[in-house]
Every structure is written in structure tokens, then in C-alpha cells.
Symmetry: C2
Subunit: 346 residues, 2 copies
């Protein structure tokens, strides 16, 4: 049995999802994979920091956060736990974690502060896993090189399609099949809105419904203007084709201009509008775009409805291979971390 100690930077939805997975499945993972996964440290700018070199009980963490919204005072109930007042860099330096799980906040402009946390973790010689798009889209080449220099792994499965293993499918299982192009429904919010519009809503009502259900944020720009999908396109370009693109090199169009008439006209023609992210090898380079497209119903991405995501790989040897699954959710994204950890120790 190999003990794998996890240090979490950030304890929001994904961190709590990870804790829930471990509360329910740590024994199964120990039995199946010979890995004893334990959260030993957490730091969260808003929720406090907590540490136990021997491991924190995930159920106790979840109970505390559900009751109080933070971890402050959790040490009172248990003398084995301390609340060291750590920030992210303290956690990297002072905890005994084998894997740093970076789940903090970031954006697609700088990738900070997540990128700096990841850099510190890799420099300290620890395996590092993130589910944040920003640092992967903007800094992957540099961070991966740093991981190699330090003899550790950098896991990023959750940065595209959450725990649906699109990156590992493309990078490992299809690695010898000659992948030429990837097209994806990479943003669940816009796909949900388009599905609602097919059911008869106009754009504004569909957006409001997405906001009501928590799929879209109060400022929906990142989703509806295609920035989120463009970040994932940049990640796919890097991981599948080894090409570094800037965000502004993605030919990006959102869904805000689509009218009920556009939707109806596609439906009448047996087609469906989808916001498609594409990365394609072309002579001398790569072409990347995010753009609403009318797909025939027979296209493997046309039937992907609601907040679901999908990636369709065009390959020399297998033709088209399509993977469909969730693109968000606390358990689905928490599972992306598990996948990366299993791959690190496989």
C-alpha cells in the first residue's frame, strides 16, 4: 500500500467534491489501486488552513464546511489537527504532501495566482494537479518543462471537460492513431442555452434560465462570447499538437448573435447550432477557432444536448472517435484529480 498525501490549495466546490469522493471511495481506491489517498493539508484564502501530517478525515472537513462555511476552529475538536495559518506557498513548503492539488481561483488573462502556486509546487519537487484552465492555457509549456526538470508530474485532466477523460484519451489512447483535428462542445453553459433555444426560448430567456440554474454567472461574457471555450482550445492545441497559441490567436465568436430565426432555420434543414471549438493541423501549422456552427443531425456532436460536453477526434487510423460526458460539476471535476493521481502512480 502506497500512501499518497494530498495538499489542497483551495477548498471550494472542486475541493469539497474531492473530499466527498475520498470520504466515499478511499477504501475502494486502496483495495483496487494499492493507493492510500489522504488529504493532509488545506489552505483556502477565505475558509482557513488546516493540517494533519497523518491525514484529515474528509467527512469531518465536509461537515465543518457545511455547518459553518469555513474550516476555522476545526482544530478545537481534534488535538491531532492544527490550523497553521498557512497560505498556498506555506502549504507547499511546510506540509508533507506528496501531491499538491491546485484548486484556487484564476482567470484567462494572467492565469494568476494559480500559475504561481503551481510553479512553487513543481519547483519544490512535488507532483502537482490542477483543474484550472488559466494556468494550463497560458503557461503549460513552461510549467511542464519545470515538472520535467524536477522529475515530477503535472496533471491537468480537469482543465478540459472536467473528469471526462478527453485529454488522456487524445494524448494516450489515440496517441498513435494520427489525430489531425479535434472539434468539441467545450462549454456547457452555451450548449445549455442553445438547447433551450431549440425548445423555443429566445436568447435572453435561455440565458436567464441558465443563470437561474447556476450554469451561467451573473456576468456571462466568459461563456457566451466563447472565451472559456477558447481557453480549452488553446489547451487542446498544446497538449495534442504541441503548439503554443495565445488566446488572441483563436478565431473566436460567441453565441450572442444567434436569433430564434437562425435556430428555426437550422431545425427546418435538419441541422443544429452548436458552439464548436476546433483545433486542426494544417500545412505549416495549426488553425484554432471557436464558432457557432450548423451541424447536420447525423454529426456525432449534434446530439449532445444540455450542459453536456463532447470532443470529436478526427484520426488517420480510426476516422472519427467521439467522447461525450460532463464538463463541470463538483464530483465530475473532483474525479479529474483522482484520474491524474492514478496516472501519476500507475
Amino acid at each position: 500500500m502506497k500512501q499518497v498525501r494530498l495538499g489542497l490549495i483551495g477548498f471550494g466546490n472542486v475541493g469539497q467534491g474531492l473530499a466527498q469522493i475520498l470520504a466515499e471511495r478511499a477504501e475502494e481506491y486502496a483495495r483496487k489501486f494499492g493507493l492510500d489517498l489522504r488529504i493532509v493539508a488545506i489552505t483556502d484564502a477565505l475558509k482557513g488552513s488546516v493540517y494533519n501530517a497523518d491525514g484529515l478525515a474528509p467527512s469531518a472537513l465536509l461537515e465543518k464546511i457545511t455547518r459553518d462555511g469555513n474550516l476555522v476552529g476545526i482544530a478545537q475538536d481534534d488535538p491531532g489537527i492544527c490550523e497553521p495559518g498557512w497560505d498556498a506557498l506555506d502549504l507547499v513548503t511546510h506540509s508533507n504532501a506528496d501531491v499538491i492539488v491546485e484548486l484556487s481561483y484564476t482567470d484567462l488573462k494572467t492565469g494568476e495566482p494559480a500559475a504561481s502556486y503551481i510553479e512553487a509546487a513543481l519547483r519544490s519537487g512535488k507532483h502537482t494537479v490542477t483543474t484550472n484552465k488559466g494556468p494550463v492555457a497560458l503557461h503549460y509549456a513552461r510549467l511542464q518543462a519545470l515538472a520535467e526538470q524536477n522529475g515530477v508530474k503535472f496533471g491537468v485532466e480537469g482543465s478540459v471537460m472536467s473528469g471526462t477523460p478527453a485529454l488522456r484519451l487524445g494524448m494516450e489512447l489515440l496517441a498513435g492513431a494520427g489525430v489531425r483535428k479535434v472539434q468539441g462542445i467545450l462549454n456547457g453553459t452555451t450548449n445549455f442555452i442553445l438547447t433551450q433555444m431549440e425548445l423555443g426560448m429566445d436568447y435572453t430567456s435561455a440565458l436567464a434560465e441558465a443563470q437561474r440554474l447556476g450554469y451561467a454567472e451573473a456576468d456571462p461574457t466568459g461563456d457566451v462570447e466563447g472565451f472559456d471555450a477558447a481557453g480549452k482550445v488553446v489547451i487542446l492545441a498544446r497538449l495534442l499538437f504541441g503548439k503554443t497559441l495565445r488566446m488572441d490567436q483563436v478565431d473566436r465568436h460567441g453565441i450572442t448573435q444567434l436569433t430564434p430565426l437562425d435556430i428555426a432555420s437550422a431545425t427546418a434543414a435538419g441541422e443544429r447550432w452548436k458552439l464548436i471549438g476546433t483545433v486542426e493541423c494544417i500545412t505549416g501549422g495549426i488553425r484554432a477557432s471557436v464558432c457557432p456552427q450548423r451541424l447536420p443531425i447525423s454529426h456525432p456532436l449534434a446530439g449532445v444536448s444540455g450542459a453536456t460536453n463532447a470532443a470529436c477526434f478526427t484520426t488517420d487510423l480510426l476516422g472519427e472517435v467521439t467522447l461525450i460526458g460532463p464538463g463541470a460539476g463538483r464530483l465530475a471535476t473532483g474525479y479529474a484529480v483522482i484520474e491524474d493521481i492514478l496516472a501519476i502512480y500507475r
Copy 2:
């Protein structure tokens, strides 16, 4: 660079597909994976046997087989090659192959002679890869145990959905996600026939069209009565859930009873008939079936048309994850062998 020498038992469609892949991509694989893949030996009951300890040129093999339909006399052109008159067991015993690639003929009643060839290969301490359903459906537990005893790997990716990596997705990438059920379109021939029937053909004409295109055999029983899909269901039960089923434990129904009226009635209700293979964990065991089912258009398997295959995994952590891709074809099945070899040496 690691040299990986392959010994092929059988040089039909799949073996030739594998040779074509290596003719075109061996250099790419060497560069990307550090593996120098070489075919050193081939034996085929009808096409002859050929051996070169340093490797046979795949292009020369393909040229000879295309010209003459066999490999007999190929040594005349090249003093490095010999035609040793080997059968499968000779190849296992006398060649210097590191991996035995078993691509001979077999059936779903005994799994022979493929199963015996695989057994001999594993006993001799060689990694073994097969794309044959029979030995995997009927003898996997025994053969896998033999592989473990001998410290080698037994690769079977090609036995379900050819090179579309459904088995590895379920067994590796989703291994920690709590897979509870798998539903699949596991037979391309019947899916092609059902698609043709939706376009207006009756069953007999659709079958004739499938036969004309080479999707269905002269005796189509194995496909249309669901035996082929049932074999794959047995394989999925074993590999994903660790349960050994006999073929007759699969509740099996074919598509021969479906009428144009059935098809039209489903279409009118916004549904589609698909031949669905299902393996499901239930309290105290497992339930396995192959059965035509009416799926709503919104189901991820409903949009899978023509000879394409698909598998939909129902998981605790990710909900439904669906993989769609080819289920047959010489390059697609040849690539399954490549995937297994890459996994052996990863």
C-alpha cells in the same frame, strides 16, 4: 530506443492492416514513444510462414500479399529472410519475438485454435495481444492468470470495438469513477441494417445491402441473432466487473423480428431501434443482455448511425460517459494492436 519484435499468428485483414500501419508510422512511433516496432515473424495457415530475426519490411510483405495472395517464395528476393515452414506453436517457440500478436481464426463456441495459441505464447513468457473475441469471451480469466504467472501482459483491446479504446477507457480512465452499467452498440452490421431500415428498406433488403458492402457474411446469423454482441457483452462483464459469464447467460435477442412497421412506429414517437448490449451491476451479481431497444432520440446511443459502434458507461461520479468510434476495419483493428503494445511498454 527499445526494440519490440512482433510475431504475427495470422496474416489476414488485421495482420495486413497492422503491417500497413507500421509501413507508414514505425518512424513516428520510434520518435514519439521510443519504441522500434518490427515484425520479425509471420505464420498463416494459408499464406505461409516467414522469418527474419532482424525484422521484415512491412511494405515488402504487403506487396507480396497483394500480388500473389500469399507469402510463399518471398525469401527468394531477400537472402535475410527465411521461410521456415512454421506453424503457430513453432513461431512462439523458435522466433525471437517479444510480443506474439494472435490474429488467427476462431469462434465463440470454443475460442479455438486462437485460445491455444495464446496459451502457448503466454506460457513461453511472451507478451501476447489478440483482437479475437472468442478466446477473450470464453477464456479470459484463465489466460490473464497465466499472463500474471509468467510476468507478461495480455492485451485484448481489439476484441471489443476494434481500435476504439472502449476497454481501456472503462478499465483505466474510468476505473475510479464507479462504473455501474455499460450499454453499447457493439455490432456494426446490425446497426447498419437498422439505419438502412430507418431509411425505408425492409429487413431482407437491408441485410442484402450489408452483405453487398461486406459488412455481413453470407451466413449472417452471428451478427443478426446477437451472438457477436453477446460475446462482447461477456468480455465487458469480465473486464469491467470481474464477472465470468457463459455465453448462454446473456439474455440474447437479435433483430430479425423487427418489421418496417416497428421502425416507423419508433420514428413517429421520436425514437430509434438499436441493438443494445448491456452489462449492469445488480444486487448480488450482474445482468447481461443483448436486445433491440427503442431509445429516445436524446439518448447518446440513438444518434450512432451506420456501422459505427459506441459504448455508454453509467458511472457514480461522472454520470454517463459515451465513446463512439469504429467497430471494425483493417486499420482500426490493426491500431488496437498498437494500443496494446504501447500500453505494455508505457
